[in-house]
């Protein structure tokens, strides 16, 4: 592999003659300051492992009760999906769909895609859909809002604390761990490296056939 290549900054279109950075190094655009490259150690292996962990954690985070309150002698607890359903039943379906997408479906899709992609790269398997998966994952990035949801849980808890004692369930702890895992996942996923691997795999595949 050649160790210098031209690249253009995605935010100011500066043409840069890049020397492939070492692991741990960060390369910023000299004109606008955007972080361009940040190679990670064992990016594929780590992404693969973290995606599996994230997918497993997704189950308790979605099906175990997160926060509960007791009022007038009755207890009520909620999971991610029950909030979506309550909104839907109140004829707030546009809001309910938005909450469902941003807090359940998109995070699930994002982790599944990163598992599929890193799995294929880890075992050096070619798949013609790799390219589409990468593009979907790229477009989903911004719409995964687990950490925003976490902040909402905190604010809601503070509001509810004044009317009732809170019961924190295992679902909440699973959810917090899931957020940590997705944060690690995002930082370990080196997109440029992934693209280069996919390019290499498709070249090999063409030669073979």
């Amino acid at each position: 592999m050649n160790n210098t290549s031209y690249q253009a900054c995605p935010e100011c279109d500066l043409l840069i003659d890049l020397v492939q950075p070492e692991i741990g190094e960060k390369i910023h655009c000299p004109r606008c300051g955007l972080l361009l490259l940040r190679p990670r150690k064992q990016s594929i292996e780590r992404t693969f492992a973290l995606s599996i962990a994230g997918l497993i954690l997704f189950v308790p985070a979605n099906f175990l009760p997160m926060v509960g309150i007791t009022l007038l002698g009755k207890a009520n607890s909620g999971i991610l999906m029950s909030g979506v359903i309550s909104l839907f039943n109140e004829n707030m379906w546009p809001v309910s769909i938005v909450v469902f997408l941003a807090s359940i479906l998109f995070p699930l899709l994002h982790i599944s895609l990163s598992l599929l992609i890193s799995g294929h790269l880890y075992f050096n398997r070619y798949n013609r859909n790799l390219v589409s998966w990468m593009r979907w994952m790229h477009h989903l990035d911004e719409w995964v809002m687990l950490e925003v949801y976490m902040l909402s849980i905190i604010v809601a808890c503070v509001k509810l604390m004044s009317i009732s004692p809170l019961i924190l369930g295992w679902g909440l702890y699973a959810f917090i761990t899931l957020i940590f895992i997705t944060a690690l996942l995002t930082s370990s996923l080196d997109k440029e490296l992934f693209w280069q691997h996919i390019e290499q795999l498709s070249k090999d595949n063409k030669h073979a056939s």
């Binding site: 938005v98 790229h138 809002m145 503070v158 693209w195």
Partner: protein
């Protein structure tokens, strides 16, 4: 010198989806690496951003006038607007949380609306600007947008938990308008191409 550094003027297109640098030729219309369509700049960036921005300006009005949630206690309803909810938090002594909601549901959306308008105006009227500083502003706008969903998620949690016979929290019409504002401004920021700030230099 400035002009020479621009990839497009040197005959290269940067792929939007994978960041691959492609030499402009007659027959190439899609990226050789990720097969997505190649565009010199994001297509119709100004028109699309402007349309999305105007719709969010219109929706921002009902989002702030109508109640975002109603607390009913034994038959008597108490409707809150976005601002009303914050005032209640601060009156109740929950100042840090009140400020947090103030930032997420009032300061962030309004500064986003103003910021994107300024970006559009500066490109359209070719203002003499410090492009580096404005690109930084764009980056901040694109980053903070999603945090406004705070209020929407919080309503979904409260509506679900506070559902007893006698005491209930019900979402109000402003919730729909506010969620639409957050999403439309996120799309507006996504459609704006910061490279336009540098092209007119």
């Amino acid at each position: 010198m400035q002009a020479k550094q621009c990839a497009l003027k040197q005959g290269f297109i940067n792929c939007h989806d994978c960041g691959y640098l492609v030499k402009i030729t007659q027959q190439l219309s899609s990226c050789p690496r990720c097969r997505s369509h190649l565009h010199e700049r994001k297509p119709h960036s100004l028109q699309r951003t402007c349309a999305l921005l105007l719709s969010s300006f219109f929706l921002y009005i009902p989002a702030n006038i109508f109640p975002i949630m109603t607390v009913t206690q034994f038959g008597t309803g108490d409707a809150h607007t976005i601002a009303g909810g914050i005032i209640e938090l601060i009156d109740g002594g929950m100042i840090p949380i009140g400020l947090l909601v103030l930032v997420a549901s009032i300061l962030v959306p309004s500064s986003k609306l103003i910021g994107i308008s300024l970006l559009l105006l500066s490109v359209y009227f070719r203002w003499k600007i410090n492009a580096r500083r404005w690109t930084f502003m764009y980056r901040v706008i694109a980053f903070i947008g999603r945090w406004s969903m705070l209020d929407i998620f919080m309503i979904s949690i409260l509506v679900d938990l506070v559902d007893f016979t006698g005491v209930q929290i019900i979402a109000g019409p402003a919730a729909i308008a506010f969620a639409a504002v957050v999403i439309l401004t996120m799309f507006a920021a996504e459609n704006f191409d910061p490279r336009l700030l540098w092209d007119k230099q």
